[in-house]
């Protein structure tokens, strides 16, 4: 059995049978990470000692099938706050920050018995689509080390795809789970806004951010989402709704399900190889019994400007807290308080973060607020209404995740607008607050993974998982591995 054969489910079976212990799983994972990460640079910080202690406690407890996450090592994106374990958001600003509390999702994972083995690399403050802006260096794509892993959850995706860990948590504000999942050939789910608590998630854009699972299989993804979902009093945007057992009914198929395919998801700006593979995937759904029809979303492309205004505006507010006073980077030799703010922030933040803060402050400033921030919010409303109109008649929406497969390092980093345009297909989903996932749908001529995006109605993750599972079982893309 290679590391690529491991799943949460299969490891649980082995733990129950006594074929392996959690201590062994942690030791193996640490050894693998130390070996593989010299290449991939997926992890920023490892949690070796605490993870081993947790593993010992877990082994002493014993294992059951109704606690599939117990004893399993997971990677956690480094913008999720972990008590006593350095949390940096991949920024110089938080280079030495050690949280005094656990995020809501970490508390839930602890209850489930899962073990955080380390913190994963990302674009700084989650602002990026390639993991090229991290203070701790680039993470490499698991399939081709000359290429980006995608972003901002690049470390979370590469670590799973390379077999360093069986699952990880990422975050998605404009596509940051789905796109790296697509670039690395794994399953990534951005849940409905409010499904998962944002308490303890270092905020980027508060009306868009969500934490979600990244795994190699659909079943694992469903198990992990169930574990982290649920109402949290400390996050007033979290939904007070019951959490379904997402992995319980995966095998129902898609017969009779109505699927909408927006024609704007294919066409200018989207690579031919991506379009071809995704169209093949949609054909597979037809043979599985789904009814597929074309729909129109004429405002789709305006999602990009609307998103960059809204997300940057919210970020400019959220990042005001980094001022060199209570925590984080503090510039030396400052003359006065204003100098403390200016220099701590200018020295502590990278260029892309500064760019977004500037765009946000500009959009919110007097004289521009109506034309930019308010206008963007109106466009957001229109795009959301389009989605609601479609979901009145359809169960799911299908399309590509990204406009391309993984590109080479440096190819887009010099041109911010070009980088932003590649989020064309993921952004509208965040604007509407809908759930979206990426599942492996094949490879291009260079052997690079292509993801299929499945978009569901509000809180319809169960339906999405059923569709994803049917597709996964009908294809063998998940069986292929890097190297």
């Amino acid at each position: 059995m290679t590391r690529f054969d491991e799943t949460i489910r299969s490891l649980n079976v082995q733990l129950i049978a006594g074929e392996v212990t959690s201590v062994q799983l942690i030791e193996n994972a640490i050894a693998r990470i130390k070996e593989l990460d010299a290449t991939f640079n997926a992890f920023i910080t490892l949690n070796e000692e605490a993870a081993l202690d947790a593993a010992k406690a877990s082994d002493a407890k014993g294992y059951t099938a109704d606690r599939p996450l117990q004893g399993i090592p997971l990677g956690i994106k480094d913008n999720i706050v972990t008590k006593d374990l350095k949390t940096t958001a991949a920024s110089k600003m938080l280079n030495d920050f050690v949280p005094i509390y656990n995020a809501g999702v970490m508390e839930k994972l602890e209850t489930a018995g899962a073990i955080a083995i380390g913190k994963l690399n990302m674009d700084e403050f989650a602002m990026g689509g390639s993991t090229e802006t991290s203070y701790f260096g680039n993470t490499l794509n698991a399939w081709d080390t000359a290429r980006v892993p995608g972003g901002s959850s690049g470390g979370s995706a590469a670590a799973v795809a390379a077999g360093e860990v069986v699952a990880s948590l990422g975050t998605d504000t404009g596509g940051s789970i789905r796109q790296p999942a697509s670039f690395n050939g794994i399953v990534g789910m951005k849940p409905t806004y409010g499904r998962v608590s944002r308490w303890g998630l270092i905020a980027f854009a508060s009306s868009l951010d969500q934490i979600g699972p990244m795994t190699r299989t659909v079943e694992d993804n469903a198990i992990l989402l169930e574990a982290i979902s649920g109402h949290d009093q400390r996050d007033s945007t979290s939904a007070d709704l019951a959490v379904p057992n997402y992995s319980a009914n995966l095998n129902v198929g898609v017969k009779g399900k109505k699927i909408a395919v927006p024609k704007e998801f294919f066409g200018a700006g989207i690579d031919e190889s991506v379009q071809a593979k995704v169209r093949e995937a949609i054909e597979t759904f037809k043979t599985l019994g789904a009814i597929v029809e074309e729909v129109e979303m004429p405002l789709n492309k305006y999602g990009i400007p609307a998103y960059y205004v809204i997300a940057s505006s919210e970020a400019s507010s959220n990042l005001q807290r980094f001022d060199g006073v209570r925590y984080g980077y503090r510039a030396e030799g400052v003359k006065n308080l204003d100098d403390l703010y200016l220099r701590s922030r200018s020295e502590g933040f990278g260029m892309e973060v500064k760019r977004r803060i500037m765009l946000g402050s500009f959009s919110l400033s007097s004289g521009y607020y109506d034309a930019y921030f308010k206008k963007a919010a109106k466009v957001r409303r229109l795009i959301t209404d389009d989605f609601k109109r479609i979901f009145a008649d359809y169960d799911l929406i299908l399309g590509p995740v990204s406009t391309s497969t993984a590109y080479k390092f440096g190819e887009k980093s010099a041109d911010p607008v070009e980088m932003y345009m590649s989020d064309l297909l993921t952004i509208p989903v965040n604007l509407a607050g809908l759930p979206g996932m990426s599942v492996p749908a094949g490879f291009d001529e260079d052997g690079l993974p292509i993801g299929l995006q499945i978009i569901g109605n509000y809180f319809a993750e169960e339906t999405m998982y059923q569709a994803a599972y049917a597709f996964e079982q009908a294809t063998d893309f998940s069986d292929k591995h890097p190297e």
Binding site: V98, I100, Y193, G194, S206, S207, L208, Q233, S236, T237, A239, Y302, I304, P305, A306, Y308, V309, S316, Q320, G324, V325, R326, Y327, R330, V334, K335, N336, L337, D338, D339, L340, Y341, L342, R343, R345, S346, F349, K354, R355, I357, M358, L359, S361, F362, S363, S365, A371, K375, A377, K378, V379, R380, R381, L382, T384, P416, V417, Y420, L431, G433
Partner: protein, 118 residues
């Protein structure tokens, strides 16, 4: 070379066609509590201008009679019981503070008025 207010004419023409000027960028930087040195400012203004050109596509959409959507959920006015609970231990809260004195966060001197002329 024709000069006007210290800028070469070709530069002047370029600036007047841009969506944002270096002066405006400096103003936004002040609002953001960020500083750019002269060598960074021109390059930053150029890329910021390109981004704004893209953002201006929003003008193509008719927003009349549309209510803005500012939140990710319709949930609002989430309340809790007005009951006092104990806060976090001060020692714990100070864990990541760079310098402290007598139980206070120590910051650099601000007695000279606090603000520099940008």
């Amino acid at each position: 070379m024709i000069e006007y207010k210290g800028m070469i004419l070709s530069e002047l023409k370029e600036e007047s066609q841009m969506a944002i000027s270096e002066e405006e960028v400096k103003h936004v930087a002040q609002l953001s509590k960020l500083s750019f040195d002269e060598s960074e400012l021109h390059g930053f203004t150029e890329s910021f201008d390109e981004i704004l050109e893209m953002i201006n596509q929003l003008d193509e959409v008719d927003g009349s009679n549309v209510e803005g959507m500012f939140r990710g959920t319709d949930v609002q006015n989430v309340m809790r019981e007005d009951k006092s609970v104990s806060g976090t231990e001060r020692e714990l809260l100070f864990k990541n503070v760079k310098t402290t004195k007598d139980g206070f966060i120590q910051v650099p001197t601000i007695i000279d008025g606090g603000e520099d002329d940008a």
